[in-house]
Amino acid sequence: MHPIVKLLSQRIALGLLLILATSALIFAGTQILPGDVAQSILGQSATPEALANLREELGLNEPALSRYVDWLLGALQGDLGTALTNGKDIASSMAGRLGNTLFLAFWAAIIAVPLALILGLVAARYAGRWPDKLISGVTLATISLPEFVVGYIVMYILAVNYRLFPSTSVIYDSMTLWEKLNAIALPVIVLVLVVLAHMMRMTRAAILNVMQSPYVETAELKGLRPATIISRHAFPNAIAPVVNVVMLNLAYLVVGVVVVEVVFVYPGIGQYLVDHVSKRDVPVVQACGLVFAAVYIGLNILADVVAILTNPRLRHPK
């Protein structure tokens, strides 16, 4: 077997193992929450008989290990159970919400990733001079502000004062793509501002790091233009660390946007999770946790794969 295939399959197997371990953690975590599920469904008015009946119905009397195995096998087949609060199938109600979140993340990423890379390259090209300082200053300022503050500022300027975009981003199926894009303009702007700095700084640092290597010096001595040196020689060698940061930020766009979703009333999975956490709807919390973990780990595997494929030293290990 080619060493790189072996390396990749090892990495993917490790990722799957990690998801398995996370699922165990999620399950254990929701089990040790204070109060049992039956109690929290029935509330204060619970009678002992009603509690016993419900525990039986929910299978809470089974040992934790067998419940975990049942849950995991179900999840593998796409059956995440039903929500306790409204009795709806979790997989189908979560699918729509997850779709919305991915839609928002997709458009934020489409803008943020190229923009961050370009700004990072520009900043590296003019390192220490005013374009670098301007770009770094602005992006660091936007990442330093909490998301909801950025959200309110953007909302105040673009929605209230200039009325360019709607201040709430409710989207639904009967909207055209254009209407949807108009509706999500503000959250996309906020997310772009929030994730930009991290990726931009890493691109800049990675490029500058490479720029100190002897082969770049050689390229300079050959008389190549700085832009050509960066695009032909420095950037390909800086991809691995940049991809890692890009993937981390993409994962953030999916699993970390709860606050932005709440501020802009966006019907994504973050809001869905928060609503159910406050109602102690454990199956939904478990399902969301599992999906979030899978997204996070999946994107990180992807980052590793890209890093391995683009790194000659990993491609041809000694």
Binding site: M155, T168, Q271, D275, H276
Partner: protein, 528 residues
Amino acid sequence: MNDELKYLAGRAAQGRVSRRAFMGRAAALGISAGMAGNMLASAVSAQGAVKGGTLRIGSVGGESTNSLDPALAASQVPYHNLHQFGETLVEVKADGSIGYRLAESVESTPDAKTWMFKMRSGVEFHNGKNVTAEDAMRTMERHSNDDAQSGALGIMRGIESMKVDGDVFSVTLSTPNADLPYLLADYHLQIQPDGGFDDPGAGIGAGAYMLEANEPGARHLWKKNPNYWDDTRGHVDEVEILVINDATARMAALQSGQVHIVNRVDPKVAQLLGRSPGVQVVNVGGPGHYVFIMHCDTEPFANNDLRMALKLAINRQEMVDKILNGYGTVGNDFPINAAYPLFDDSIPQREYDPAAAAEYYKKSGHDGSPIVLRVADGAFPGAVEAAQLYQQSAAAAGIPLEIKREPNDGYWSDVWNVQPFCASYWGGRPVQDQMYSTAYLSTADWNDTRFNNPHFDELLLSARAELDLGKRKGIYSEMAHIMRDEGGLICPMFNDYVDGLSDKVQGWEKDGTGELMGGRASQVCWLA
């Protein structure tokens, strides 16, 4: 109804046909003078209203777990949804009187034990079926059923039997209750086809708007019901309710013109919001109040001198000014204010009096150890700050209060109604009897002050059976005095309903029966 006559009523309202000519034509068509007069009145009031448009409401209190089942409604968005598609038998009007909706008249036997609701004829549900007395009875049956987990279950407990006789739905109570129509005006009791037994969450009722899109936690879209029976209501083509739980986002949505009406304007920003162009803030006194409650059966609060000391040691006006920013009124240590029918406004207002408080405190013989007051942010908006103000005003009277801050999570199950002294709130009830029966009758489930006064209980039951309004008012006044001087309730303030409106909204009226005109804003208002 005769289309020609409707058309004529419209013309008469516009002044194109004289009133006399209209009445004459109506008589010629065999319509009684009274009925023709009603038609004319409704045509006139509808004349001002512009029809059409989409009215958008931004509301707090919606979650993806919400259902359209009227029994399960507990927060604001479900409350407003019910007012779009549903219709109750009767409603409580802004002036505190009963308005007739699906019931066109209500009568009772002289002992106030049996009540007859005569159903309005020719009214249809959204599914095309006629609204019958049978539907009304089935609805009440479902809400009486433990399985339905209805928020109106407490109201239903007093019903002994129900029956249908033609178009009359009658209710017999186990004990007399002169307020029964007010109780059946509860917003959970929207009449559903067959009582909603088949599909409680279908969103089918007899209201002004029909379900178009239902996305819990995000938005709810309602379309005008073309067969709605009441011409004076339901002016817009569509009502869209957007769930905007974040307060700042809600205000921004109003300012940016994305929604026309918002609820729950934070008193802290109300004045700022009112100054922005095209927006006005409307407030109206309601029955809701913020409270500190003591258990009358637990030391040291079992001592009425100590309770009195604590009541005198709170600065009510300061709370209204600082916690409510003036959007409210001072309380008087009983849970009733001018928003209730039969309120006695001659009861002297209790003032902050540190000297008298110190005296009562001394008399109580309390050992001087700090009195623990439990509070959480979620107890009511500004609860922690209110507790701090209270701590300072009490310290001036030499009474040491220790504030114990509790987490919001679990506050209503672990602290409220469990710990002897804590902060809380009440949304209020439409009538005095219901408020007292819910929380101050010694046997009430939610007797959160552990108030046990046999004389008070007796008065409450006798008032309930009293159909003579003058006598009832006297009894309620006596109860208020007992509550104020002996109860475990410290009521510093009644909070106003504060809503925000765009200047496109017309027809808004002061209505303290609930937020957004008791939920009726989308039916009564129109868009300019």
